[in-house]
Amino acid sequence: MGRRGRNIVILPFLAPAVILYTVFFIYPALRAFYISLTDWSGYGAAKFVGLKNFAELFRDKDFYGALRHNIYLLIFGGIVTLSLAFLFAVLLWQGRIRGAGFFRTLLFSPSVVAPVAIAVTWTFVFSPRIGLLNGLLRSTGLGNLARPWLGDLKLVLSLLMIVGIWSAVGYYMVLFLAGLQRLPQDLYDAAKVDGAGPVATFFTITLPLMRDVLVTLIGLYTIGSFRTFDLIWIMTGGGPANASETLATYMYRTALGVVRFSSVQRIGYGTAVAVILFLIVFVATILSQRLGGRQEVEY
């Protein structure tokens, strides 16, 4: 590796990536922290207000509502998504099912479709007038159950959660499968010789060995769940009456909203929400890397 003059490529090869990344990523990211310390509607000059935006956030009912919705989506959506994904992965594992490749390809397919498209498709399913769900209810004599689903204050968040689960299960299933395929097969042979049943095998071998994978995927789900914007913004816009607002939609509405830079926008305040969102994602990333890397199980 000690060729002379080899190092002349270092600077020209690094420069494009470092410059673009600094100008369009790091600079705006750092600037966001400053903007979150100002009060600005988009007109005139921004006023520096220190931590006032953050102080206000801690008294803001809508902010807490959005955070609560995030936590609801994270916990219940996470449990259902990861359990189903794990179940499907175990079913498709070790080639014990015919057509495993077909199922795998089909179940993963929502992951390649634009979230925008998934959101519009499910808007169609839940639509009051032309929706598939109401159409089904009406044609089976259950017409009295038909309703504007996404307009229902009590149901809307759970419906969004179901769409989120539907779109994410295949992705996590493929990740679980990748983890399962790395497990040593001889342990399973030994367990069989010992006469261990399928349930015992799962709990004594598969689950402990998959611990790190599980922790990593919980971390991944947490980050993805807090970042989710497209699905919610397109299906409900955070409504009705903030019933499906999350930090991502609240941030967007407050800072950029429907009419950009009109006097109703609170750019500094909305950016403060984005800073909180960043901190949550940051902590989740660090935690999942710390916890997911540990090797506890020895055989």
């Binding site: 003059g5 990344y21 705006p28 498709l92 199922f103 089909l106 634009a114 991944l220 970042r227 930090l247």
Partner: protein, 297 residues
């Protein structure tokens, strides 16, 4: 592979009287959730396509009915012209193609240096580039709008391309640096002895050697850029610059006024079929490409 049946409870069962029945039951229990879940996927796409081939009156009459007087393909022509989907498809394709080519090239150059050269600033620069992995785009939205307005990049395809080149850099560099680092040194040393220039070594030897990794990142970033929504929503305003997801989203939000659902469905089908046909061609590569790096090892 003899243990396989065991995990399902079938292997044990088949040795007892009535085992065949239990075997069938076990199979059913294993297949049922998979079949049901897969069926929703096919079902949704099918009914979407079906409704894209009906008139608005037919959709309103019954979303479950088949198009009685034959498929109304003219919905697609209408979306293409009246709905401006011709623009959207063109914008999406060229913005994705340009930005993916450049982001993979630029990231590969940086990753080559970071993965194979020893110099004092190597690790600091590497971690500097990687730090972006922890940043949700929401943090960048407001500053980018301000910056783009000041730089006259707001509401321009060039601006969107620049962002689409920049955002994937952290992950692409992370992935490709490991890839370049794992390549053997013999070829590159032989080329140097033959008098190949340092730039030539990268272009003619390392770049082709890394092509599996470059293709994986190309696929990953292409799907991301093609499907991206929030950045384009914030940075693009004029309707002629909209990408496919943006066009579909705007059309969807106009439904309460226009109720032109057949137009929306035709556009939606274009957006979905574009990536699904890509997926059908190379599903294995896309599955591993989209999940790459999520798990260590």
């Amino acid at each position: 592979m003899t243990t396989l049946e065991n995990t399902k409870g079938v292997y044990v069962a088949s040795h007892r009287p009535g085992g065949i029945l239990l075997t069938l039951l076990g199979r059913l229990v294993a297949y049922l959730p998979l079949i049901l879940w897969s069926a929703t996927n096919i079902f949704l796409l099918g009914w979407l396509l079906l409704n894209a081939l009906k008139t608005n009156q037919q959709i309103f009459a019954n979303p479950w009915a088949l198009p009685k007087d034959g498929p109304h393909w003219e919905n697609f022509a209408r979306a293409w012209q009246v709905g401006k989907f011709g623009y959207f498809v063109f914008n999406s394709v060229y913005i994705t193609a340009v930005s993916v080519t450049l982001t993979v090239l630029i990231s590969a150059m940086a990753a080559y240096v970071l993965g194979r050269f020893e110099f004092r600033l190597n690790r600091p620069i590497y971690y500097y580039l990687l730090s972006g992995l922890m940043v949700p785009y929401q943090l960048l939205l407001v500053p980018l709008v301000l910056q783009f307005t000041a730089m006259k990049l707001y509401d321009t395809p060039i601006g969107l391309i620049l962002v689409y080149i920049t955002m994937p850099i952290p992950f692409t560099v992370f992935f490709l640096a490991a890839f370049f680092g794992s390549l053997p040194t013999e070829l590159e040393e032989a080329a140097a002895l033959d008098g190949c220039s340092e730039f030539g070594i990268f272009w003619r030897i390392m770049f082709p050697l890394a092509s599996p990794g470059l293709i994986t990142m190309g696929v990953y970033n292409a799907l991301w850029a093609f499907n991206e929504y929030i950045l384009s929503l914030v940075l693009i305003e004029s309707s002629q610059y909209r990408t496919l997801p943006l066009g579909v989203a705007y059309l969807n939000s106009a439904m309460q006024f226009t109720a032109d659902w057949s137009l929306l469905f035709a556009g939606l089908i274009m957006l979905i079929v574009a990536t699904l046909s890509f997926y059908a061609l190379m599903s294995g590569r896309i599955q591993s490409g989209l999940t790459v790096g999520a798990l260590k090892g």
